[in-house]
């Protein structure tokens, strides 16, 4: 199934893109998606510390994904 990935701030710049789609297994969870993304963007491993949101809510690594979910990788926020 397809999910949408969003990248922001330093991650966006590092990746050179802000959004893309990726094909994942039907039973994929957040942690599985991250491992898959690391193949393509090994710098995600170095970064070490970012949060994940699924459909605009913070989500843990066990969160199951569904078709067309929007997954955002969220580096440490610094608004204000």
């Amino acid at each position: 199934m397809k999910v949408r990935v969003l990248l922001f701030a330093s991650l966006r710049e590092r990746a050179g893109r802000s959004r893309f789609e990726v094909e994942v297994e039907a039973d994929c969870r957040v942690e599985g998606l991250l491992r898959q993304l690391e193949n393509d963007m090994p710098f995600l491993r170095e970064v070490g510390r970012f949060a994940v949101a699924v459909n605009e809510d913070y989500a843990g690594p066990e969160r199951p994904l569904r078709e067309n979910d929007e997954i955002a990788l969220i580096p440490p926020v610094s608004g204000g």
Binding site: A9, G48, E56, I74, P76, G79
Partner: protein, 156 residues
Amino acid sequence: MIRLTDQPIVIDDLLKAVANPAAGAIVLFIGTTRDHNQGRRVERLEYEAYAGMAGKEIDAIAAEAASRWPIAAVAIVHRTGVVPIGMASVAIAVSAAHRAAAFEAARFTIDRLKETVPIWKKEFFEGGAIWIGDQCGREGGFVDPALAPGEPGTKG
């Protein structure tokens, strides 16, 4: 009330948004771009937001403030894009019958906003640029090549 804008923040709009005849106190917080940070001469800040989620998180903070303190109203606006020195990047207004609640809720709101709302600032300084926040992680994180050793926070 709008939550995010790429235009200069109009303080009077926030004050009007929280005006209430039952309120005896209004506390307004404005975060402005400082001309220095950690010994670096800052030229400007640039803010990027995950707009949809940022709006939801801001609403959630406003709701939590209203549930924890007896306040009349709260208004929150964050600017995105370039914010020049001295200009407001964020403004929070809280009205309440009494000042203690207004002060505490305003302080809570800006503290929480800085923790949870998916907005990022890039600091452009003399000689480089850096995404603020990346550097405070224990695991390091990465920074643009040109930069000085970074610490969090270019803002109040």
